[in-house]
Symmetry: C2
DNA sequence: CGTGTAAGGAATTCTGACACG
DNA sequence: CGTGTAAGGAATTCTGACACG
């Protein structure tokens, strides 16, 4: 995925009505999930909410979990956990790369 | 670019106001370029225009040409020409692939 | 030709609140 | 807790038209 493609996915340009159509969620539900910190749309100058494709996908996941009876507080925890896991992975990955780099220089310098 | 990334770029989800902000063009100009067949937004159920990121980029190119004094009719011709050229390229490419394939089987079958 | 603008109507979006459960 | 709804106001969008050049 190039930087440009990513910008399409992350750029906040979709109004709440379209998001509602795309996700099947009511406008009320979408606003409520924001209140519960599950999503963070951007605000336009005039104050209207703008969402990215990424937000839309997140909302679809939320919808699935809600259908399974998972509460928003639980969903939020899951999201935070997943972020932590990702962070941990990256730390591990960095450690390993560091190790390789060190080994490399060890051999080169003797 | 994966199929998914492409769908982000082509999906018509942006309202004309946002497109105006993104391109710097007035709403009037954007509607006029549609009248001149330079772009084709999708219509929502209610009749409002929906644009893709691809449309936005096209509009920025149009804006550049208009600044150079190029008329919309001319811009339309350029666009058609470019499409034809692309078509020609693909045809040539297909012919070449076909040739390679034929050569391949020739060798295999004797 | 390309773009601005006023006109009138319809649909959207926003917030805070009450309702129900 | 999660969602629907009526309320009132503000901003958007749409079309057809007139203006200017």
């Amino acid at each position: 995925m190039t930087i440009e493609d990513k910008s399409y996915k992350e750029k906040k340009v979709i109004s709440i009505g379209i998001v509602s159509e795309l996700t099947g969620l009511s406008v009320r539900q979408i606003r409520y999930y924001e209140e519960r910190k599950l999503i963070s749309p951007q605000r336009s100058t005039r104050g209207t909410r703008k969402y990215s494709f990424s937000d839309v996908e997140k909302l679809m996941e939320i919808a699935n979990k809600r259908e399974d009876g998972v509460q928003t507080a639980e969903i939020l925890k899951d999201m935070r956990r997943r972020e932590q896991a990702l962070k941990g992975d990256n730390q591990l990955r960095n450690k390993m790369l560091e190790g390789q780099l060190n080994a490399h220089f060890k051999y080169r310098n003797r």
